[in-house]
Subunit: 419 residues, 2 copies
Amino acid sequence: MARIVMKFGGTSVANIERIRHAARHVKREVDAGNEVAVVVSAMSGKTNELVNWCTDAAPMHDTREYDAVVASGEQVTAGLMSIVLQDLGVQSRSYAGWQVPIHTDDTHGSARITGIDPHNLDERMSDGWVPVVTGFQGISDKGRITTLGRGGSDTSAVAVAAAVKADRCDIYTDVDGVYTTDPRIAPRARRLERVSFEEMLEMASLGAKVLQTRSVELAMAQGVRLVVRSSFDDPDAANAPGSDWGATGTLVCDEDEIMEKQIVSGVTLAKAEAKVTLRKVKDRPGVAAAVFGPLADAHIVVDMIVQNISDDGAHTDITFTIPDSEFDKAMRVLKAAPGLEYESISGSKGGAKISVVGVGMRSHAGVASSMFKALADKGINIQLITTSEIKTSVLIDEEYAELAVRALHTYYGLDKAED
Amino acid sequence: MARIVMKFGGTSVANIERIRHAARHVKREVDAGNEVAVVVSAMSGKTNELVNWCTDAAPMHDTREYDAVVASGEQVTAGLMSIVLQDLGVQSRSYAGWQVPIHTDDTHGSARITGIDPHNLDERMSDGWVPVVTGFQGISDKGRITTLGRGGSDTSAVAVAAAVKADRCDIYTDVDGVYTTDPRIAPRARRLERVSFEEMLEMASLGAKVLQTRSVELAMAQGVRLVVRSSFDDPDAANAPGSDWGATGTLVCDEDEIMEKQIVSGVTLAKAEAKVTLRKVKDRPGVAAAVFGPLADAHIVVDMIVQNISDDGAHTDITFTIPDSEFDKAMRVLKAAPGLEYESISGSKGGAKISVVGVGMRSHAGVASSMFKALADKGINIQLITTSEIKTSVLIDEEYAELAVRALHTYYGLDKAED
């Protein structure tokens, strides 16, 4: 017997038929003797519809009212899910965020969960009921409905799992797990059986959009084991005996739970990256702020940042990457930035950032150099390099992106066996 | 300065453009120095969509979950209305039923309001804010969302008006008031300036579907003055100086507020009425129950009922009317009813019920007889007659329905002056 929180995203509850399919996954877990709570998103498309109505009503609108409007989407799904579960013979009731209650701060539109009272959910689950909780929302201490921002339903699920001390939190989505790289680029990409929170964080923020970064951070902080799995699997065949969390999916867990650590667990790719270089910026305290402050004010998100000392020791070269779409704007902003002295500014669009991620890097020297060698073997030129504890990233010409991903995927032994 | 509750129905908030138009009515009242609370329905069509989803999820479903799903419709409109009001410079916030709170019993799907805490609304209105309240719903003492059943938004508005001691409750709808009869039948029908609660009740239940009977009953019990008016009027021209409640609309109020009482205020028509006659039913206590019990069990709503003593004094003839669509079913039910003894059963479809309604009837004898004479003058045969204190109804052949309505409308002086 386990205690499980099951979260279903928008595509998994897009219509009554899909909700019924999702409910069969829930019934399977209940029939297996587990205590289950469900967290649901709005039907896919519904949140956009509601958001658009708010924008049509007034482009600049009160986020408190926006929240009241948009939160209705999950309320609908939660009620429908409970109806369907009851129809399958599973005792169930829905809970809006305020009914649980899920307490949040009052940063409407992007609120943070401050606490969940587990009493109601605990009691129901212990009695064999399945509470169905609206994701994405809560209630402020002023008694108003709040929403957590896009992707907040994953975060809701993790927070609920932590509150009811669940053994794991299953995130049902439209992919069947976390892959070593994008299978559309490298057909021999493998589904990972396990991946650590840290690796997942690096991979999510690098473009493997399976889980919201925020929910992974919360899961790591709260020690909630996540399973990423597909809601489109056959509900009656999805649990294999002997498996820890079911036949399919990827377990996202603490590093300690992963016995055989891969040096590299995944290769990620982000295209359309532009680079900008400022040469001979006067090297004094505050120079980085003088460069990146104006960019932040212009809402330009900077990705890689590299700073080198230049020849004379009094100046420095700074290079950073931004999305191609922000390139022209960034150039304008920097040329107009007050108090920023440099010799020249240059840059170009059309880069690709390739990263290799793996907790095993910590204990294995030479991952970076082996990566550079693997790329050199294919004749791929490296423009920029940044590293973190479990990740090494390079910027290369976009033309070589797929070649680089496949080369590294093979080089680090990630390819699945030939069929 | 007055305190006003303004209620907008589904067609008046069907899209953002309509909501904006409705909001301009609200702004007009606020600009005139009034304290205003708004009650809204769901966008037209939305409630049906939500109801259908519940039915698709499971034909027999938990009404508590149904309520959670269906109540979301008004939540959306209330938030959007507040956004639009703010955009027009009117301070506003939305309140879901549970936030007011509007307390109800826990008869989910058709709950009754048990009390409204006026504190929140009172405070906002006194501060010059416009609270926008979700109609149709409340919260049970178990903390679950309840709905009041179809047409419940009118009832919500009246209950809110009573709770905040409003001077009047304006029901904005797609017609511009209550008419002496259906203008499609009698082109010279006039809009009534005032009509009493009692007359409105008789007219509403007789088919003038402007206001839900239940909301009129509540308004009468609580002494809430109602105004029926059109949301499609020009918001900036809708208040004439010197008028009590605006240039348009019909005031539904206590009889005492109506100085010059009409003997007849309106003529109503209900077509497709079938009549059923049971001859020589054994006249003993409980005979009516033996007839109408089985019909009620079969969910057949009976309208007119007439009972006469037959010749021998030991038997009685009973005639009643039902919708044409229920005729065959009613005949089957009665033929199969246990313990019901009668000589013969007969009936026919295709009747029309014509009623004249007016509080003035109380003090004026001879309304019924003058009605019969007016119909006889046109050669119209009367099949059944029923009377109440302020209403006289007759059943006639459907063919003569429009002729009868126009004749009575003219006879009682209800025609508007020629243009």
